[in-house]
């Protein structure tokens, strides 16, 4: 049984299994990997690396996708780390 660690996903604290990958997390969250971007500790990941990147204690992960928007869009995220 993997050790329980704390990570942040889209700004929210979340328990996770030490070393399990970004791909595992997306699967647990039922998020299809196509058309999302993943940023791990401010580094944008290549989609083909999702399976290889294990998550560690304190990691901050952002999962982003496309929403309706024209010119100016008030969104949830202001782009800054919290």
């Amino acid at each position: 049984m993997a050790n329980e660690i704390q990570i942040h996903v889209n700004g929210e604290p979340r328990g996770w299994r030490d070393g399990d990958s970004v791909a595992d997390l997306l699967k647990d969250l039922a998020i299809a990997t196509e058309r999302v971007a993943v940023e791990l500790n401010l580094e944008i990941l290549d989609r083909k690396d999702f399976g290889q990147r294990g998550l560690r204690e304190g990691d901050r992960i952002e999962i982003l996708g496309f929403i309706g928007g024209g010119c100016e869009t008030k969104g949830e995220w202001d782009g800054r780390e919290r």
């Binding site: 058309r35 971007a37 944008i44 990941l45 982003l64 996708g65 024209g70 202001d78």
Partner: protein, 258 residues
């Protein structure tokens, strides 16, 4: 419309000269119907956090098929060069293309572009291989600078975003169209069909709007109106309007009168 009258930007060919945003609609069904009614083949989207708590929420791209439309991600909501560059990179990572509508907003009240920041961000992104379509002010000098650094089109505003004021500075827009040798897409500030037609009559290569359609009382009807307006304006531009004259010129001959 003339099927051969296509707009091409950096190797991307577009059928429609009306581009639309996808924000502010009541739901995805309305978004989809309005886009269909507009005839647009370019739609802008924003990049935001995926909702991880409620996965039942539908995705915009379930309604707007990226195989049918060119999805143009924007950097809306970005007030710094760093943020705009970060969002552009995220948009590319999310996997549509190298196209980005670059916005660096200068001020919350006017949402005018921070043109100094825009040029800086555009330089960084162009170096990284992005096709940068910059949302800019109606300033011919800035437009020229953006083209000089490698933007394959410029997107000057007609009026502040969502203001519906129409074209506030037609002469500047005309100067931009004469100055730059790349497509000019009039972006933001259009209020109704005549504004869109005017922009096209002045010689714009395309018009981008969101609020004018989404905020109308009947968005789908307005989307259709905008389609006709852009087509009519484009045809009128190509047809070549008559010059304005102060006095009358009779259309009927005098000859043969009693």
């Amino acid at each position: 419309m003339d099927a051969n009258d296509r707009l091409t930007i950096a190797g991307h060919e577009f059928r429609s000269r009306l581009w639309v945003g996808t924000g502010k609609y009541k739901d995805f069904t309305e978004t989809k119907k309005a886009i269909e009614a507009s005839g647009a083949d370019v739609v802008t989207v924003a990049v935001r956090r995926v909702n991880i708590t409620d996965r039942s929420k539908e995705n915009l791209l379930d309604y707007i098929d990226p195989k049918k439309y060119t999805i143009l991600p924007n950097t809306a909501g970005c007030y710094t060069v760093e943020d705009a560059v970060r969002y552009a990179r995220l948009a590319r990572a999310a996997g549509i293309s190298d196209l980005v509508k670059l916005e660096v907003i200068g001020d919350e009240k006017t949402l005018f572009p921070d043109t100094a920041g825009l040029i800086e961000a555009a330089k960084i992104l162009i170096k990284e291989g992005f096709i940068v379509l910059p949302y800019t002010n109606d300033d011919p000098i800035v437009a020229k600078k953006l083209v000089d650094i490698g933007c394959p089109a410029v997107m000057p505003l007609a009026a502040p975003i969502g203001s519906g004021l129409g074209i506030r500075n037609p002469y500047n827009l005309k100067i931009i169209m004469e100055t730059v040798k790349v497509p000019v897409i009039v972006d933001a500030g259009v209020g109704t069909a005549s504004d869109a037609a005017l922009a096209m009559e002045y010689g714009a290569d395309a018009v981008l709007m969101n609020t004018a359609i989404a905020g109308a009382q009947y968005p789908i009807m307005m989307a259709e109106a905008m389609k006709y307006a852009v087509d009519a304006g484009r045809l009128a531009y190509r047809a070549g309007r008559i010059p304005r004259k102060l006095y009358a010129t009779a259309s009927s001959p005098i000859e043969g009168m009693l």
